[in-house]
Symmetry: none
Subunit: 423 residues, 2 copies
């Protein structure tokens, strides 16, 4: 593997060293570089300190072909990356007219005045290739210096990710001769990682050497990611598809999608195909299910709305849950979940409605109903389906898991009840 | 600051470089070291590669007084940290009887048989000080070599954190005469980083050498973090408070909290103090405001619920927004936001209600109302306050920004309208 292209990710910022922000950038960059066949061999973080940054750049240049630098490009005086890059390359800053035009339009669009600090954001080292940042005010920079590529990006994850995806990764692929790497994902929900591994053990051990499998668990879901490496893209695609065709029949009931699919987009597509509408009635998820559904662009075509009935009073006054049911069975019960879903269908006048009610924690549990006890329901024109979840004692995780399982209950319900969708 | 004790955190493992796992250890270690006055100046991650680990150790020994190493201590063959440490220190492994006794009892307690691999976990470099690990099978190790302290810990967060808290941090405090480092954060919303910087430029440049300022922007908020270093904790606390007292009057209208405060907890506290209740009416945020509020444990004490009126029909049928208003001014208008907020107050029967309506994007914009046009409103028993937001063309960010500004409008409204809270 002497042809391996090696990369180092260098993050700059005292706040990272002090542990005051979570650095999610380096992990994401690591996956993206790996995906295009570039091997990250080191991650380095240094503070906003000129000498420390110079040392890190010097060291990196000795061991890798690509250095991805994030952070330290903001307009304020504690952001010193750009000046330090000038010192490192022995050059100076000059206003880049393209960058200035973009920053100017950025502020004009928002009807905001530009400050000197903002104008200075358009100043780049003379040896930099300007990489336009359409998502913020700090330009990206590309340097090709003594056979090492240096990329400098803002640390704001949203800006960094867009710059990497649309500008940097394509340039890296073009700059270096990397092998073809193709990923194919099968996405499951409702089966644990170890059970999944046992179920498909024979298939997994029969995988050819150039196709690797990774289990990527996330909130009750497991993404099975096949990664193939080959000089021949066409053959590799066929090989990957053949392996997926072998896998699917073994775990079909747990598969909700492939590759970029997620539950909210899959459910949205099913609703569109069925010409059906959706509403939610949420207690323990507090609006998170509606948020996940409406995070999908175009969801207004099938999503009508939601009633977050956090208090019992709203359950009765807005959703029409009977006080007697609440009294007799409690807010966290199959009967209440059912009445919430049916009430939402009625009040929001939708084809389907899903409901959640449970004890998210950390407090509120009882011996009979410990924290993590959750009932979900899905109402249809004909009948209502319910499901009991037994989760752990973590409020955030319980909310996200409940939302995933509620969307999956809806998905299975649509497939079961709507013949138009099945074929 | 020549007396500053400097530290480097070295994490070992291919899975970290490839981005297959989230490295939460280094952030946590950074906060812990900072809290005892040891300054992390670098974080390094390398793969399970002998030479790369040796290089990283050699480099670290040149720049820091303390090297905290995590990972690579498991029993499997790809965990090579211990052998590499032997090579680095020029020594060899030998079974440590205390370590062996602990590992043995660990397995006896669980009625599990020990393998040769487990026994090898009790083998330590001869120059290592044994640090008992009561939480797992891999011992911790402490080396004091040529005036640099090296600490090697397992990468399992639960084991690493316990070893740090109960064994390593006390030893580090005893080993080094450390200065005190204290952080103080002032949290703002509604003013950009660069405008903030200009507003407080004079104050910032007058900061003493031993107090540093960092700008940490996040979704329309900017956290101003002061970091002070001194031998005298009492004096330093007074100095930091004095600087904050100078700063606050200059930007008071933008400050929503300090240190660990965030908008949803600050608003929750204000509502509790006022004995008031809250509901939301959400269109473009699709339930995200309610989700943020209910992410706070105990929010049921003041949050009644929400109506996510994604379609105009729900705005009229559930919230009682007049069809004529929707017709005349459109769903994204000050008038509709106002009627949504007032409708939510009425339907949910709460003290306050906040409403959001806008064009989150990526589509749905018009020349008069481009994507990112958002109206928010806050209804009180006496009057209703509204605000226009002009955001960018990113659905996810528009939803999060709208939620932040809506919570901030509520915060300002409570302070303005509720005298009980003011004093």
């Amino acid at each position: 593997m002497s042809a391996t292209i090696r990369a180092e990710v260098l993050t700059i910022g005292d706040e990272i060293l002090f542990g005051q922000i979570t650095d999610t950038n380096t992990q994401w960059i690591g996956t993206q570089l790996t995906d295009i066949g570039i091997r990250p061999i080191r991650k380095t973080s240094v503070g906003d300190n000129r000498q420390h940054i110079l040392d890190a750049l010097q060291e990196a240049s000795q061991r890798v072909d690509v250095v991805i630098i994030t952070g330290g490009l903001g307009p304020t005086r504690d952001d010193i990356t750009k000046h330090t890059l000038c010192a490192y390359f022995g050059t100076s800053l000059e206003i880049n007219q393209d960058a200035l035009a973009l920053v100017t339009s950025f502020f004009e669009k928002r009807g905001r005045a530009m400050t000197d600090l903002n104008i200075q954001q358009a100043a780049l080292p003379l040896n930099a290739t300007y990489v336009p940042n359409l998502w913020g005010t700090a330009p990206g920079m590309w340097f090709d210096h003594e056979n090492v590529v240096y990329v400098s990006l803002p640390g704001v994850p949203y800006e960094m990710k867009n710059l990497m995806e649309f500008e940097i990764l394509p340039r890296l692929k073009a700059r270096f001769a990397t092998p073809v790497i193709i990923h194919k994902s099968v996405r499951t929900i409702g089966i644990g990682e170890s059970f999944l591994a046992e179920t498909i053990a024979a298939w997994e051990s029969a995988l050819p050497e150039h196709i690797k499998l990774a289990y990527l668990p996330h909130f009750g879901q497991v993404r099975l990611r096949l990664t193939g490496t080959s000089p021949d893209e066409v053959v590799l695609r066929q090989e990957l598809q053949a392996q997926v065709d072998l896998l699917v029949p073994q775990i079909e009931e747990y598969i909700f999608g492939y590759d970029g699919d997620d539950l909210e987009t899959v459910v949205g597509t099913l609703l569109l195909q069925a010409g059906a509408t959706l509403g939610t009635a949420e207690s323990c998820t507090g609006g998170f299910v509606a948020h996940q559904i409406t995070a999908v662009p175009g969801s207004s075509a099938y999503f009508e709305g939601s009633v977050v009935s956090y208090s019992n009073r709203i359950k009765t006054t807005v959703l029409g849950v009977s006080a007697q049911i609440l009294e007799q069975y409690g807010a966290v019960s199959e009967q209440t979940a059912r009445e919430m879903a049916e009430g939402a269908r009625r009040v929001l006048n939708t084809t389907y409605a899903i409901a959640t009610t449970g004890i998210a924690g950390p407090t509120g549990g009882t011996p009979e109903k410990p924290v993590g006890t959750v009932w979900i329901a899905c109402a249809t024109p004909d009948e209502t389906f319910t499901q009991l979840l037994t989760l752990r004692n973590n409020r955030k995780i319980n909310i996200e898991l409940t939302s995933s399982y509620a969307l999956n209950l809806l998905r299975k319900t649509i497939l079961k009840t709507n013949l138009a969708v099945k074929d």
